[in-house]
């Protein structure tokens, strides 16, 4: 499964974001947490997930790869939408 990323600016304190696509379909929105979040600064947070089995608000994940792995797991568990 190939997930691609597109940078995006988000509203609110954590502005740096990524749209996550499976082919041309949007599957999730990630944000990079800023200094407000102390120990989790620099980690990635799943703001929104459009797969039925992933939960918005999951994370924070230490790396972008970890976040994408979690999104991939959610997609694999949702065969109906592939």
């Amino acid at each position: 499964m190939r997930l691609t990323l597109r940078p995006v600016e988000l509203i609110g304190p954590d502005r740096e974001g990524r749209l996550v696509f499976l082919e041309e379909r949007l599957v999730a929105v990630l944000s990079k947490l800023g200094e407000l979040h102390e120990d989790a600064t620099g980690h990635w947070f799943l703001e929104a997930s459009f797969t039925p089995t992933s939960r918005s608000g999951a994370g924070p994940f230490a790396t972008l790869e970890d976040a994408l792995a979690a999104i991939g797991t959610g997609l694999n568990a949702s065969p109906g939408i592939r």
Binding site: G12, D14, L33, L36, A40, F45, G57, G59
Partner: protein, 247 residues
């Protein structure tokens, strides 16, 4: 008349019940005569576990306790917060198996009351039986309010509402006398109670600070604008059914 120290377990229970009902001297004396077994717990310890069959009720004397369930993927849902004077497992008198756990959110002191003693006092003192029934009904009213919040309120409203609720309950119990109190719960625990992530809780607390509604210094939360916070949280204390609204 029996004399009891103001911060004794019996006094805590009397004060709690008197926030929701009227007790006479005989009722207070009967409560003061309840046999108790005190026990301390560390933060994060379980007082009672899901599946337990308790033979005692636990009266919270010091500290802060939650009711919770752990779901399949290890996620925790906190269903209520409890303050000194509460008996969070009162229902174990009639529901023999615990369908949830009770966890200590801070170091906690509880006083265990044998079920036989609770059954005896409810048989001999109808006013106390009615007070426990009323407390259980209010418990259900709080669950309804939380369900409405988790189902339909925004993250901002849920957090503002919870701060208003805790402040109102602490004031009613005489545990604080100004709108400033020690935050006894972590952001992760607030998140687990309100169906949010810690990230959202952190963002909303910063927003409430920026809007001049609260101030946070260390673990002390101060309400700067009570009316504004009530409005932000869509908070009306009616569901707590207190005899005197302390705000």
């Amino acid at each position: 008349m029996t004399t009891i120290a103001e911060d004794s377990p019996h006094a805590r229970l009397i004060r709690k019940l008197e926030t929701i009902t009227v007790l006479n001297r005989d009722d207070r004396d009967a409560i003061a005569a309840l046999p108790l077994r005190a026990k301390s717990f560390e933060e994060n310890q379980d007082l009672v576990r899901q599946g337990d069959r308790p033979s005692e009720c636990c009266l919270l004397v010091e500290g802060f306790v939650c009711r919770y369930k752990v779901l399949g993927e290890g996620q925790r849902q906190i269903m209520s917060f409890h303050l000194p004077g509460d008996i969070p497992d009162l229902q174990s008198l009639h529901l023999k198996v615990m369908d949830h756990g009770l966890g200590a959110l801070t170091p906690v002191t509880v006083a265990f009351i044998p079920h036989e003693a609770m059954e005896e006092i409810t048989r001999s003192r109808p006013t106390i039986a009615a007070a426990f029934w009323r407390d259980t009904l209010i418990d259900a009213a709080v669950f309804r309010e939380w369900l409405a919040g988790v189902g339909r309120r925004s993250a901002h409203q849920r957090i503002a509402h919870l701060i208003c609720e805790l402040c109102t309950r602490l004031k009613a119990l005489g545990l604080i006398d100004n709108p400033s109190f020690q935050l006894m719960v972590t952001q992760a625990e607030v998140a687990d109670a309100l169906g949010l992530s810690s990230v959202h809780v952190n963002r909303v607390l910063q927003d409430l600070r920026r809007d001049g509604l609260i101030a946070i210094q260390g673990r002390v939360l101060k309400i700067l604008d009570w009316e504004g916070l009530k409005e932000a949280g869509d908070f009306d204390s009616e569901y707590l059914h207190l005899r005197h609204d302390p705000s």
